[in-house]
Point group: C2
Chain length 162, copies 2
DNA sequence: GCCGATTAAGTAAGCAGCTTAAATAAACGT
DNA sequence: ACGTTTATTTAAGCTGCTTACTTAATCGGC
């Protein structure tokens, strides 16, 4: 297959992928996770969008300010506020003022949520793992490389410092 | 890099990519294209979203019904209606009743639009080409493979028959 | 030839996720 | 102490999608 045809295929594939990526991940399908969720009194049937998952990932290495979250997701501040709002409503994270600078609101997992967050990520991770199963290591690496290249090319790459 | 880390990186990358993919492609940046557009009296400064580009691609092989467009994009009928509406407003496509079955509206390029459509696609194509420039042929192929796998895994793959 | 069922497209209403602009509140610098 | 900057939130608005419903045309059995 020559390069031009290849690019064309990618061109056709990308919007579909984008659409799929936007769809929320239904959590309730995952048995193990459901147990974990109801055990903690989290709302069952919650749908977690990719943005929310990204926030959860961003928090994995410790509390972050709303602004940091916005930057690491590559979205505007209000968008980050909104994402955090939603996660807070669902009782997954909470805000607390930074003692050092009371303007900043530090967002962190609710106690014990770290664990659940990891499992939620696991849902997506499993999907990806399954999808990439047909690729050998070299191919997988090449895939990652291309993905990075395209993401970078299509906007000035956010989330570097997270 | 082990597989787990690789999947994690993909996991982090994907939502950002999804967001970028959703952004409209500003056409007016492309000199050559702008000439072509104003020459035909198309609105200058029009932004074409990925969905619109997909419709234009779908039409490349001839007129299509709204339903076919919806299927090939993997969206609902009303969504396709909406996309076609917009393209029609911009004078890029037009509907005409199918003589064989007057329920179906065939969507086709406005005369001469085929050319412009190809140039519009060229904008994205050039971005992709540039992005994938750093990959050799083997890698590019692997990338495509992974992309297909993920797109398929993340939803039941639309657009097969287009 | 008529009538109910099916099919294509469009309309309506609503939601999620983003944007920019403006408001609020705290901290900083001179 | 006061004006400026910085962090966040609020408000308003847009796009792209969804589902449920309407309208219009075709089809199939009698």
């Amino acid at each position: 297959m020559d390069r031009e045809r290849l690019v064309d295929e990618v061109l056709i594939l990308l919007p579909a992928l984008g659409r799929e990526l936007g769809r929320p991940v239904p959590l309730e399908m995952e048995e193990e996770l459901r147990g974990e969720i109801s055990r903690r009194g989290l709302p069952v049937g919650v749908q977690v969008s990719p943005g929310h998952i990204q926030v959860l990932i961003a928090l994995a290495r410790g509390p972050r300010s709303v602004g940091q979250i916005a930057d690491s997701l590559g979205v505007s501040r209000p968008a980050a506020t909104q994402l955090v709002d939603r996660l807070e409503e669902h009782g997954m994270v909470h805000r607390r003022p930074d003692p050092a600078d009371r303007r900043v609101h530090l967002v962190d997992y609710v106690p014990g949520m770290h664990e659940v967050a990891r499992k939620i990520m696991g849902v997506r991770r499993r999907q990806l793992n399954a999808a990439l199963d047909g690729l050998n290591d070299k191919e997988a690496l090449a895939f990652l490389k291309g993905l990075k290249a395209i993401t970078e090319a299509l906007g000035e790459m956010p989330g570097e410092e997270n």
